[in-house]
Protein backbone atom coordinates (compact mmCIF):
# COMPACT_ATOMS: atom_id res chain seq x y z
CA UNK A 1 0.00 0.00 0.00
CA UNK A 2 1.45 3.32 -1.03
CA UNK A 3 1.34 6.29 1.30
CA UNK A 4 -1.97 8.14 1.24
CA UNK A 5 -1.33 11.62 0.00
CA UNK A 6 -3.72 14.33 1.17
CA UNK A 7 -3.54 17.68 -0.60
CA UNK A 8 -5.02 20.49 1.51
CA UNK A 9 -6.84 23.39 -0.12
CA UNK A 10 -4.58 26.27 -1.17
CA UNK A 11 -4.15 29.09 1.34
CA UNK A 12 -7.40 31.04 1.57
CA UNK A 13 -9.32 28.74 -0.81
CA UNK A 14 -12.41 26.92 0.48
CA UNK A 15 -12.71 23.13 0.31
CA UNK A 16 -14.30 21.88 -2.88
CA UNK A 17 -18.07 21.51 -2.86
CA UNK A 18 -18.99 17.94 -1.81
CA UNK A 19 -20.48 16.00 -4.75
CA UNK A 20 -23.87 14.32 -4.41
CA UNK A 21 -23.95 10.56 -3.79
CA UNK A 22 -26.00 8.44 -6.19
CA UNK A 23 -27.70 5.21 -5.03
CA UNK A 24 -25.07 2.97 -6.64
CA UNK A 25 -22.02 4.89 -5.46
CA UNK A 26 -22.30 4.79 -1.68
CA UNK A 27 -19.34 2.43 -1.14
CA UNK A 28 -17.15 4.49 -3.46
CA UNK A 29 -17.70 7.65 -1.45
CA UNK A 30 -17.56 5.93 1.96
CA UNK A 31 -14.13 4.55 1.07
CA UNK A 32 -12.88 8.05 0.37
CA UNK A 33 -13.30 8.88 4.06
CA UNK A 34 -10.19 6.77 4.67
CA UNK A 35 -8.56 7.85 1.40
CA UNK A 36 -9.19 4.52 -0.30
CA UNK A 37 -9.95 4.29 -3.99
CA UNK A 38 -12.39 1.51 -4.80
CA UNK A 39 -13.84 0.60 -8.19
CA UNK A 40 -17.08 -1.19 -8.96
CA UNK A 41 -16.86 -4.59 -10.64
CA UNK A 42 -19.41 -6.89 -12.25
CA UNK A 43 -19.03 -10.38 -10.79
CA UNK A 44 -20.86 -11.89 -13.78
CA UNK A 45 -18.59 -10.69 -16.56
CA UNK A 46 -15.58 -9.47 -14.55
CA UNK A 47 -15.65 -5.99 -16.00
CA UNK A 48 -14.65 -2.92 -14.00
CA UNK A 49 -17.29 -0.19 -14.06
CA UNK A 50 -16.97 3.55 -13.66
CA UNK A 51 -19.06 5.57 -12.95
CA UNK A 52 -20.80 3.17 -10.52
CA UNK A 53 -24.16 1.95 -11.73
CA UNK A 54 -26.98 -0.28 -10.53
CA UNK A 55 -26.42 -2.56 -13.52
CA UNK A 56 -23.34 -3.57 -15.49
CA UNK A 57 -23.01 -1.65 -18.79
CA UNK A 58 -21.48 -4.72 -20.39
CA UNK A 59 -24.05 -7.41 -19.51
CA UNK A 60 -26.80 -5.63 -17.52
CA UNK A 61 -26.01 -7.91 -14.58
CA UNK A 62 -26.79 -6.65 -11.09
CA UNK A 63 -24.26 -8.76 -9.14
CA UNK A 64 -21.83 -5.95 -8.45
CA UNK A 65 -19.18 -5.25 -5.85
CA UNK A 66 -16.50 -2.72 -5.04
CA UNK A 67 -12.84 -3.73 -4.94
CA UNK A 68 -9.71 -1.76 -4.02
CA UNK A 69 -8.01 -0.07 -6.95
CA UNK A 70 -4.25 0.06 -7.44
CA UNK A 71 -4.38 3.83 -7.17
CA UNK A 72 -2.23 4.33 -10.24
CA UNK A 73 -3.08 5.59 -13.70
CA UNK A 74 -2.02 7.15 -16.99
CA UNK A 75 -3.08 10.57 -18.28
CA UNK A 76 -5.29 10.02 -21.34
CA UNK A 77 -6.22 13.67 -21.98
CA UNK A 78 -5.86 16.91 -20.04
CA UNK A 79 -6.65 20.60 -20.11
CA UNK A 80 -5.49 23.45 -17.93
CA UNK A 81 -8.25 25.80 -16.82
CA UNK A 82 -6.85 29.35 -16.67
CA UNK A 83 -9.86 30.59 -14.72
CA UNK A 84 -12.29 28.99 -12.27
CA UNK A 85 -15.05 26.85 -13.79
CA UNK A 86 -17.30 27.77 -10.90
CA UNK A 87 -17.31 30.06 -7.89
CA UNK A 88 -16.07 27.28 -5.62
CA UNK A 89 -12.75 27.22 -7.43
CA UNK A 90 -11.70 30.76 -6.51
CA UNK A 91 -8.05 30.74 -5.49
CA UNK A 92 -7.32 27.47 -7.26
CA UNK A 93 -6.77 28.57 -10.89
CA UNK A 94 -4.96 27.64 -12.97
CA UNK A 95 -5.82 24.02 -12.41
CA UNK A 96 -5.83 20.84 -14.48
CA UNK A 97 -8.80 18.66 -15.43
CA UNK A 98 -7.89 15.31 -16.94
CA UNK A 99 -9.08 11.92 -18.03
CA UNK A 100 -7.00 9.25 -16.33
CA UNK A 101 -6.96 5.60 -17.41
CA UNK A 102 -6.73 3.17 -14.48
CA UNK A 103 -5.06 -0.24 -14.82
CA UNK A 104 -8.38 -1.81 -13.81
CA UNK A 105 -9.69 -0.82 -17.25
CA UNK A 106 -11.79 2.24 -16.52
CA UNK A 107 -11.34 5.94 -17.22
CA UNK A 108 -12.04 8.71 -14.68
CA UNK A 109 -12.56 12.39 -15.10
CA UNK A 110 -10.44 13.93 -12.36
CA UNK A 111 -8.03 16.68 -11.46
CA UNK A 112 -4.27 16.60 -11.56
CA UNK A 113 -2.62 18.58 -8.79
CA UNK A 114 0.91 19.19 -7.63
CA UNK A 115 2.08 17.31 -4.59
CA UNK A 116 3.68 20.52 -3.29
CA UNK A 117 0.31 22.26 -3.34
CA UNK A 118 1.31 24.62 -6.16
CA UNK A 119 -1.10 25.54 -8.93
CA UNK A 120 -1.16 24.71 -12.63
CA UNK A 121 -0.12 21.94 -14.99
CA UNK A 122 3.49 21.95 -13.78
CA UNK A 123 5.38 19.04 -15.30
CA UNK A 124 2.53 16.68 -16.20
CA UNK A 125 1.58 15.76 -19.78
CA UNK A 126 -0.66 13.35 -21.69
CA UNK A 127 0.78 9.86 -21.41
CA UNK A 128 2.39 10.43 -18.00
CA UNK A 129 2.04 8.02 -15.09
CA UNK A 130 0.10 9.41 -12.11
CA UNK A 131 -1.06 8.20 -8.71
CA UNK A 132 -4.09 9.01 -6.66
CA UNK A 133 -4.15 11.77 -4.04
CA UNK A 134 -6.97 13.18 -1.97
CA UNK A 135 -8.52 16.58 -1.41
CA UNK A 136 -10.54 16.93 1.81
CA UNK A 137 -14.25 17.68 1.49
CA UNK A 138 -16.21 19.53 4.15
CA UNK A 139 -18.35 16.46 4.96
CA UNK A 140 -15.42 14.15 5.78
CA UNK A 141 -15.21 12.54 2.40
CA UNK A 142 -12.25 13.11 0.08
CA UNK A 143 -12.22 13.90 -3.62
CA UNK A 144 -9.84 11.69 -5.62
CA UNK A 145 -7.32 13.63 -7.66
CA UNK A 146 -3.98 12.58 -9.12
CA UNK A 147 -0.36 13.65 -8.87
CA UNK A 148 2.57 12.79 -11.09
CA UNK A 149 3.90 9.37 -10.10
Amino acid sequence: MTERLVIPAPEGAPDRQPPPVSPAAGPFWEATRSCSLVIQWCRSCEQAIHFPREACPSCLGADLEFRPAAGTGTVYAMSEMPAPGNAGMQGRAPYVVALVDLPEGVRMLTGIVRADGGLGAAEVAVGDAVRVAWEPLADGRHLPVFVRA
Partner: protein
Protein backbone atom coordinates in the same frame (compact mmCIF):
# COMPACT_ATOMS: atom_id res chain seq x y z
CA UNK B 1 -51.97 9.30 -50.50
CA UNK B 2 -51.43 6.44 -48.09
CA UNK B 3 -47.88 5.25 -47.69
CA UNK B 4 -47.97 1.46 -47.41
CA UNK B 5 -44.27 0.79 -47.27
CA UNK B 6 -44.39 0.26 -43.48
CA UNK B 7 -47.17 -2.24 -43.62
CA UNK B 8 -46.09 -5.43 -41.97
CA UNK B 9 -42.49 -4.39 -41.93
CA UNK B 10 -42.07 -4.47 -38.16
CA UNK B 11 -43.47 -6.56 -35.30
CA UNK B 12 -43.48 -6.56 -31.49
CA UNK B 13 -41.38 -9.51 -30.39
CA UNK B 14 -40.98 -9.09 -26.62
CA UNK B 15 -42.88 -7.52 -23.73
CA UNK B 16 -42.50 -7.10 -19.97
CA UNK B 17 -43.97 -5.00 -17.22
CA UNK B 18 -43.48 -4.43 -13.51
CA UNK B 19 -46.51 -3.76 -11.30
CA UNK B 20 -47.65 -4.42 -7.75
CA UNK B 21 -51.07 -4.64 -6.06
CA UNK B 22 -49.79 -2.18 -3.47
CA UNK B 23 -49.19 0.33 -6.17
CA UNK B 24 -45.60 0.67 -5.10
CA UNK B 25 -42.39 -0.85 -6.40
CA UNK B 26 -39.00 -1.17 -4.80
CA UNK B 27 -36.03 0.32 -6.60
CA UNK B 28 -35.05 3.39 -8.48
CA UNK B 29 -36.47 4.36 -11.84
CA UNK B 30 -33.20 3.36 -13.48
CA UNK B 31 -33.22 -0.08 -11.87
CA UNK B 32 -36.81 -0.58 -13.01
CA UNK B 33 -35.98 0.45 -16.56
CA UNK B 34 -33.11 -2.04 -16.63
CA UNK B 35 -35.34 -4.76 -15.19
CA UNK B 36 -38.08 -4.50 -17.80
CA UNK B 37 -35.59 -4.12 -20.64
CA UNK B 38 -33.84 -7.31 -19.53
CA UNK B 39 -37.13 -9.17 -19.22
CA UNK B 40 -38.53 -8.02 -22.54
CA UNK B 41 -35.32 -8.88 -24.37
CA UNK B 42 -35.39 -12.28 -22.71
CA UNK B 43 -39.01 -12.66 -23.78
CA UNK B 44 -37.87 -12.12 -27.36
CA UNK B 45 -34.74 -14.25 -27.11
CA UNK B 46 -32.53 -11.22 -27.61
CA UNK B 47 -29.82 -9.56 -25.54
CA UNK B 48 -28.82 -5.98 -24.88
CA UNK B 49 -26.08 -6.43 -27.49
CA UNK B 50 -28.77 -6.74 -30.16
CA UNK B 51 -30.31 -3.35 -29.35
CA UNK B 52 -29.52 -0.50 -31.72
CA UNK B 53 -32.58 1.70 -31.29
CA UNK B 54 -33.65 3.36 -28.05
CA UNK B 55 -36.85 5.24 -27.31
CA UNK B 56 -37.30 7.00 -23.96
CA UNK B 57 -38.53 10.36 -22.82
CA UNK B 58 -37.85 10.91 -19.12
CA UNK B 59 -34.60 11.90 -17.45
CA UNK B 60 -33.21 13.71 -14.42
CA UNK B 61 -30.78 15.44 -16.77
CA UNK B 62 -31.04 17.08 -20.15
CA UNK B 63 -31.04 14.28 -22.72
CA UNK B 64 -33.20 11.26 -22.01
CA UNK B 65 -31.93 8.83 -24.61
CA UNK B 66 -28.25 9.73 -24.22
CA UNK B 67 -28.29 9.27 -20.49
CA UNK B 68 -30.14 5.98 -20.56
CA UNK B 69 -27.93 4.62 -23.35
CA UNK B 70 -24.84 5.64 -21.44
CA UNK B 71 -26.22 3.92 -18.38
CA UNK B 72 -26.93 0.77 -20.36
CA UNK B 73 -23.56 0.88 -22.11
CA UNK B 74 -24.96 0.91 -25.64
CA UNK B 75 -24.35 3.14 -28.66
CA UNK B 76 -27.58 3.30 -30.64
CA UNK B 77 -27.76 4.30 -34.27
CA UNK B 78 -31.43 5.26 -33.92
CA UNK B 79 -32.48 7.44 -31.00
CA UNK B 80 -35.79 9.03 -29.98
CA UNK B 81 -36.61 11.17 -26.94
CA UNK B 82 -39.93 12.34 -28.29
CA UNK B 83 -41.96 13.64 -25.35
CA UNK B 84 -45.70 14.01 -25.85
CA UNK B 85 -46.96 12.92 -22.41
CA UNK B 86 -49.21 9.87 -22.28
CA UNK B 87 -49.14 9.15 -26.01
CA UNK B 88 -45.35 9.15 -26.18
CA UNK B 89 -45.00 5.42 -26.34
CA UNK B 90 -47.45 4.86 -29.15
CA UNK B 91 -45.47 7.43 -31.08
CA UNK B 92 -42.26 5.64 -30.16
CA UNK B 93 -43.62 2.41 -31.60
CA UNK B 94 -44.67 4.23 -34.75
CA UNK B 95 -41.22 5.73 -35.12
CA UNK B 96 -39.59 2.39 -34.44
CA UNK B 97 -41.69 0.68 -37.10
CA UNK B 98 -40.80 3.37 -39.59
CA UNK B 99 -37.13 3.10 -38.77
CA UNK B 100 -37.15 -0.64 -38.97
CA UNK B 101 -39.03 -0.72 -42.25
CA UNK B 102 -36.30 1.47 -43.71
CA UNK B 103 -33.48 -0.55 -42.21
CA UNK B 104 -32.30 2.25 -39.95
CA UNK B 105 -32.31 0.11 -36.85
CA UNK B 106 -32.73 -3.58 -36.23
CA UNK B 107 -33.81 -3.95 -32.61
CA UNK B 108 -35.63 -1.05 -30.93
CA UNK B 109 -36.31 -0.84 -27.19
CA UNK B 110 -39.10 1.41 -25.96
CA UNK B 111 -38.94 1.85 -22.20
CA UNK B 112 -40.62 3.80 -19.41
CA UNK B 113 -40.48 3.69 -15.61
CA UNK B 114 -41.62 6.12 -12.93
CA UNK B 115 -42.26 5.85 -9.19
CA UNK B 116 -44.54 8.79 -8.37
CA UNK B 117 -46.46 6.99 -5.64
CA UNK B 118 -43.52 5.86 -3.54
CA UNK B 119 -41.68 9.06 -4.26
CA UNK B 120 -44.64 11.06 -2.97
CA UNK B 121 -44.70 8.98 0.21
CA UNK B 122 -41.04 9.70 0.73
CA UNK B 123 -41.83 13.38 0.48
CA UNK B 124 -39.95 13.94 -2.69
CA UNK B 125 -42.82 14.90 -4.95
CA UNK B 126 -45.52 13.03 -6.77
CA UNK B 127 -46.03 13.14 -10.49
CA UNK B 128 -43.23 15.54 -11.21
CA UNK B 129 -40.98 13.14 -13.06
CA UNK B 130 -37.81 14.91 -11.99
CA UNK B 131 -38.51 14.07 -8.35
CA UNK B 132 -39.20 10.41 -9.05
CA UNK B 133 -35.94 9.77 -10.85
CA UNK B 134 -32.87 8.31 -9.25
CA UNK B 135 -31.17 11.26 -7.62
CA UNK B 136 -28.23 13.29 -8.85
CA UNK B 137 -27.12 13.28 -12.44
CA UNK B 138 -23.88 11.45 -13.23
CA UNK B 139 -22.38 14.74 -14.28
CA UNK B 140 -23.07 16.36 -10.89
CA UNK B 141 -21.41 13.47 -9.10
CA UNK B 142 -18.50 12.55 -11.36
CA UNK B 143 -17.58 15.56 -13.49
CA UNK B 144 -18.74 18.81 -11.94
CA UNK B 145 -16.63 18.40 -8.75
CA UNK B 146 -13.58 18.96 -10.92
CA UNK B 147 -14.92 22.28 -12.22
CA UNK B 148 -14.10 21.74 -15.86
CA UNK B 149 -15.04 24.90 -17.76
CA UNK B 150 -17.93 23.84 -19.95
CA UNK B 151 -18.33 23.18 -22.69
CA UNK B 152 -14.87 24.23 -23.82
CA UNK B 153 -13.07 22.01 -21.32
CA UNK B 154 -14.54 18.84 -22.78
CA UNK B 155 -13.43 19.80 -26.28
CA UNK B 156 -10.03 20.80 -24.92
CA UNK B 157 -9.59 17.27 -23.62
CA UNK B 158 -10.32 15.92 -27.10
CA UNK B 159 -7.87 18.40 -28.63
CA UNK B 160 -5.16 17.41 -26.16
CA UNK B 161 -5.60 13.77 -27.05
CA UNK B 162 -5.55 14.42 -30.80
CA UNK B 163 -2.36 16.46 -30.44
CA UNK B 164 -0.78 13.68 -28.38
CA UNK B 165 -1.70 10.88 -30.76
CA UNK B 166 -1.27 12.59 -34.11
CA UNK B 167 0.94 15.64 -33.58
CA UNK B 168 -1.86 18.04 -34.47
CA UNK B 169 -0.86 21.64 -33.72
CA UNK B 170 -2.58 24.74 -32.38
CA UNK B 171 -1.68 26.44 -35.67
CA UNK B 172 -3.59 23.80 -37.65
CA UNK B 173 -6.66 24.21 -35.46
CA UNK B 174 -6.37 27.98 -35.82
CA UNK B 175 -6.47 27.68 -39.61
CA UNK B 176 -10.04 26.39 -39.31
CA UNK B 177 -11.04 29.57 -37.46
CA UNK B 178 -9.23 31.71 -40.02
CA UNK B 179 -10.95 30.09 -43.01
CA UNK B 180 -14.35 30.21 -41.36
CA UNK B 181 -13.86 33.90 -40.65
CA UNK B 182 -12.93 34.50 -44.30
CA UNK B 183 -16.35 33.18 -45.27
CA UNK B 184 -17.93 35.47 -42.68
CA UNK B 185 -16.33 38.51 -44.33
CA UNK B 186 -18.68 37.79 -47.23
CA UNK B 187 -21.79 37.47 -45.08
CA UNK B 188 -23.26 40.82 -44.04
CA UNK B 189 -25.40 39.05 -41.45
CA UNK B 190 -22.47 37.45 -39.62
CA UNK B 191 -21.67 38.46 -36.05
CA UNK B 192 -17.93 38.79 -36.77
CA UNK B 193 -16.87 40.02 -40.24
CA UNK B 194 -13.27 41.16 -39.83
CA UNK B 195 -10.62 38.78 -41.21
CA UNK B 196 -8.22 37.16 -38.76
CA UNK B 197 -4.87 35.39 -38.94
CA UNK B 198 -3.47 32.28 -37.30
CA UNK B 199 -1.43 34.58 -35.05
CA UNK B 200 -4.63 36.34 -33.98
CA UNK B 201 -6.10 33.02 -32.89
CA UNK B 202 -2.98 31.99 -31.01
CA UNK B 203 -2.78 35.41 -29.32
CA UNK B 204 -6.38 35.31 -28.13
CA UNK B 205 -6.89 34.38 -24.47
CA UNK B 206 -6.63 30.71 -23.52
CA UNK B 207 -10.04 29.34 -22.51
CA UNK B 208 -9.07 25.76 -21.67
CA UNK B 209 -5.73 24.64 -22.98
CA UNK B 210 -5.09 24.07 -25.86
CA UNK B 211 -8.18 26.01 -27.03
CA UNK B 212 -8.00 29.80 -27.40
CA UNK B 213 -10.93 32.17 -27.44
CA UNK B 214 -10.96 32.26 -31.25
CA UNK B 215 -11.11 28.46 -31.35
CA UNK B 216 -14.50 28.74 -29.61
CA UNK B 217 -17.94 29.47 -31.02
CA UNK B 218 -19.96 32.60 -30.35
CA UNK B 219 -22.74 33.09 -27.85
CA UNK B 220 -25.55 34.90 -29.65
CA UNK B 221 -29.31 35.02 -29.97
CA UNK B 222 -30.71 33.22 -32.99
CA UNK B 223 -33.54 31.13 -34.42
CA UNK B 224 -34.11 28.95 -37.45
CA UNK B 225 -36.62 26.60 -39.04
CA UNK B 226 -36.70 24.00 -41.78
CA UNK B 227 -39.87 22.69 -43.45
CA UNK B 228 -39.95 19.37 -45.24
CA UNK B 229 -42.54 17.58 -47.38
CA UNK B 230 -42.53 14.80 -49.93
CA UNK B 231 -40.28 15.33 -52.92
CA UNK B 232 -43.27 14.73 -55.18
CA UNK B 233 -45.19 17.50 -53.55
CA UNK B 234 -42.09 19.68 -53.25
CA UNK B 235 -41.84 19.80 -57.02
CA UNK B 236 -45.08 21.79 -57.18
CA UNK B 237 -44.01 24.31 -54.55
CA UNK B 238 -42.32 27.63 -54.87
CA UNK B 239 -38.61 26.89 -54.57
CA UNK B 240 -36.56 24.16 -56.23
CA UNK B 241 -36.61 21.02 -54.10
CA UNK B 242 -33.60 20.14 -51.95
CA UNK B 243 -33.69 16.41 -51.61
CA UNK B 244 -32.75 14.50 -48.49
CA UNK B 245 -30.39 11.99 -50.10
CA UNK B 246 -28.99 10.36 -46.99
CA UNK B 247 -29.10 10.54 -43.22
CA UNK B 248 -27.27 8.87 -40.37
CA UNK B 249 -27.09 9.16 -36.59
CA UNK B 250 -24.93 7.78 -33.80
CA UNK B 251 -24.46 8.77 -30.18
CA UNK B 252 -21.69 7.39 -28.05
CA UNK B 253 -21.95 9.02 -24.59
CA UNK B 254 -23.42 11.89 -22.59
CA UNK B 255 -20.41 12.92 -20.47
CA UNK B 256 -17.01 13.48 -22.05
CA UNK B 257 -15.56 11.04 -19.52
CA UNK B 258 -17.67 8.29 -21.11
CA UNK B 259 -16.55 8.99 -24.71
CA UNK B 260 -14.91 5.74 -25.79
CA UNK B 261 -12.13 7.36 -27.84
CA UNK B 262 -11.64 11.12 -27.70
CA UNK B 263 -10.23 11.17 -31.22
CA UNK B 264 -13.16 9.41 -32.89
CA UNK B 265 -16.76 10.61 -32.77
CA UNK B 266 -20.04 8.93 -33.68
CA UNK B 267 -19.68 10.68 -37.04
CA UNK B 268 -17.52 7.72 -38.01
CA UNK B 269 -20.80 5.79 -37.94
CA UNK B 270 -23.30 8.46 -38.97
CA UNK B 271 -21.27 9.66 -41.94
CA UNK B 272 -20.83 6.31 -43.69
CA UNK B 273 -24.51 5.53 -43.05
CA UNK B 274 -25.56 8.77 -44.69
CA UNK B 275 -23.18 8.36 -47.62
CA UNK B 276 -24.30 4.79 -48.20
CA UNK B 277 -27.95 5.80 -48.21
CA UNK B 278 -27.21 8.59 -50.66
CA UNK B 279 -24.99 6.44 -52.84
CA UNK B 280 -22.30 9.09 -52.62
CA UNK B 281 -18.82 9.54 -51.18
CA UNK B 282 -17.08 12.49 -49.53
CA UNK B 283 -15.58 13.36 -52.91
CA UNK B 284 -19.10 14.16 -54.16
CA UNK B 285 -19.68 16.90 -51.58
CA UNK B 286 -19.59 20.35 -53.16
CA UNK B 287 -20.12 22.32 -49.95
CA UNK B 288 -20.03 21.20 -46.31
CA UNK B 289 -21.63 22.63 -43.18
CA UNK B 290 -19.81 20.96 -40.31
CA UNK B 291 -20.75 21.91 -36.78
CA UNK B 292 -18.04 24.25 -35.53
CA UNK B 293 -18.67 24.56 -31.84
CA UNK B 294 -14.88 24.57 -31.58
CA UNK B 295 -12.12 24.20 -34.14
CA UNK B 296 -11.33 20.72 -32.85
CA UNK B 297 -14.93 19.70 -33.55
CA UNK B 298 -14.48 20.43 -37.24
CA UNK B 299 -11.15 18.63 -37.38
CA UNK B 300 -12.52 15.48 -35.77
CA UNK B 301 -15.60 15.51 -37.98
CA UNK B 302 -13.63 15.95 -41.20
CA UNK B 303 -11.75 12.78 -40.32
CA UNK B 304 -14.75 10.83 -39.12
CA UNK B 305 -16.86 11.79 -42.13
CA UNK B 306 -14.11 10.51 -44.41
CA UNK B 307 -12.84 13.73 -45.96
CA UNK B 308 -9.36 12.68 -44.83
CA UNK B 309 -7.90 9.71 -42.96
CA UNK B 310 -8.02 9.56 -39.15
CA UNK B 311 -5.20 11.58 -37.67
CA UNK B 312 -4.51 13.62 -40.80
CA UNK B 313 -7.04 16.37 -40.15
CA UNK B 314 -4.36 18.84 -39.16
CA UNK B 315 -2.45 18.51 -42.41
CA UNK B 316 -5.73 18.43 -44.36
CA UNK B 317 -6.91 21.82 -43.08
CA UNK B 318 -3.51 23.52 -42.91
CA UNK B 319 -3.51 24.63 -46.54
CA UNK B 320 -6.86 26.40 -46.44
CA UNK B 321 -8.94 23.63 -48.00
CA UNK B 322 -12.04 24.89 -46.18
CA UNK B 323 -11.68 28.52 -47.32
CA UNK B 324 -13.27 30.25 -50.33
CA UNK B 325 -11.66 28.70 -53.38
CA UNK B 326 -10.57 25.63 -51.42
CA UNK B 327 -11.35 22.06 -52.42
CA UNK B 328 -13.93 21.65 -49.64
CA UNK B 329 -15.78 24.93 -49.07
CA UNK B 330 -17.07 24.64 -45.48
CA UNK B 331 -19.17 26.62 -43.06
CA UNK B 332 -19.87 29.20 -45.69
CA UNK B 333 -22.14 31.28 -43.47
CA UNK B 334 -19.25 31.96 -41.11
CA UNK B 335 -20.38 29.09 -38.92
CA UNK B 336 -20.75 28.96 -35.20
CA UNK B 337 -17.37 30.62 -34.92
CA UNK B 338 -18.41 33.83 -36.69
CA UNK B 339 -22.01 33.76 -37.96
CA UNK B 340 -24.16 32.90 -34.96
CA UNK B 341 -24.37 30.34 -32.16
CA UNK B 342 -27.38 30.52 -29.84
CA UNK B 343 -26.47 27.29 -28.08
CA UNK B 344 -27.55 24.84 -30.74
CA UNK B 345 -26.31 25.54 -34.23
CA UNK B 346 -27.69 22.54 -36.08
CA UNK B 347 -30.64 24.30 -37.67
CA UNK B 348 -28.33 26.88 -39.20
CA UNK B 349 -26.22 24.19 -40.83
CA UNK B 350 -29.31 22.98 -42.68
CA UNK B 351 -30.45 26.49 -43.63
CA UNK B 352 -27.08 27.37 -45.13
CA UNK B 353 -26.82 24.06 -46.99
CA UNK B 354 -30.22 24.63 -48.58
CA UNK B 355 -29.36 28.21 -49.53
CA UNK B 356 -26.15 27.05 -51.19
CA UNK B 357 -27.99 24.41 -53.21
CA UNK B 358 -30.55 27.02 -54.30
CA UNK B 359 -27.80 29.43 -55.33
CA UNK B 360 -28.98 32.10 -52.90
CA UNK B 361 -25.69 32.94 -51.18
CA UNK B 362 -24.49 35.95 -53.18
CA UNK B 363 -20.79 36.70 -52.74
CA UNK B 364 -20.18 33.52 -50.78
CA UNK B 365 -22.05 31.26 -53.21
CA UNK B 366 -20.17 28.07 -54.10
CA UNK B 367 -20.51 27.86 -57.88
CA UNK B 368 -22.35 24.83 -59.16
CA UNK B 369 -23.11 23.35 -55.74
CA UNK B 370 -25.28 20.27 -56.30
CA UNK B 371 -24.56 18.19 -53.19
CA UNK B 372 -24.23 19.56 -49.66
CA UNK B 373 -23.46 17.95 -46.33
CA UNK B 374 -24.78 19.27 -43.02
CA UNK B 375 -23.39 17.57 -39.94
CA UNK B 376 -24.70 18.29 -36.46
CA UNK B 377 -22.92 17.54 -33.20
CA UNK B 378 -24.69 17.59 -29.85
CA UNK B 379 -23.58 17.47 -26.25
CA UNK B 380 -19.82 17.20 -25.86
CA UNK B 381 -19.01 15.39 -29.13
CA UNK B 382 -21.80 13.12 -27.92
CA UNK B 383 -24.56 12.85 -30.51
CA UNK B 384 -23.81 12.96 -34.22
CA UNK B 385 -26.17 13.24 -37.15
CA UNK B 386 -25.26 13.61 -40.80
CA UNK B 387 -27.59 14.90 -43.51
CA UNK B 388 -26.71 14.83 -47.20
CA UNK B 389 -28.79 17.10 -49.39
CA UNK B 390 -28.93 17.47 -53.15
CA UNK B 391 -30.53 19.47 -55.94
CA UNK B 392 -33.12 18.04 -58.31
CA UNK B 393 -30.26 17.05 -60.59
CA UNK B 394 -29.11 14.51 -58.02
CA UNK B 395 -32.47 12.74 -57.80
Amino acid sequence: MVDRTMRGAAAVVGVADAVSPTGELQGTVRSLEVQVIREALDDAGLTIADVDGLFTCTTPGWAASLELAEYLGIAPRWTDSTQTGGSSFEIHVQHAAAAISLGLCDVAVVVYAATPRSSFKKGSGGYTSRQSLPGPTPSAEWEQPYAMRMPMGAYALAASRHMHEFGTTAEQLAQIAVDTRTWATMNPRARLQDPITVDDVLASPMQASPLHKLDCCLVTDGAGAVVLTSTERARSLRKPPVLVLGTGTCHTHAMISEMPDLTTTGAAVSGPLAFAQAGLTPADIDVAQIYDSFTITVLLLLEDLGFCPKGEGGAFVAGGVLAPGGALPANTSGGGLAYTHPGMFGIFLLVEAVRQLRGECGPRQVDGAEVALAHGSGGVLSAMSTTILGTEATA
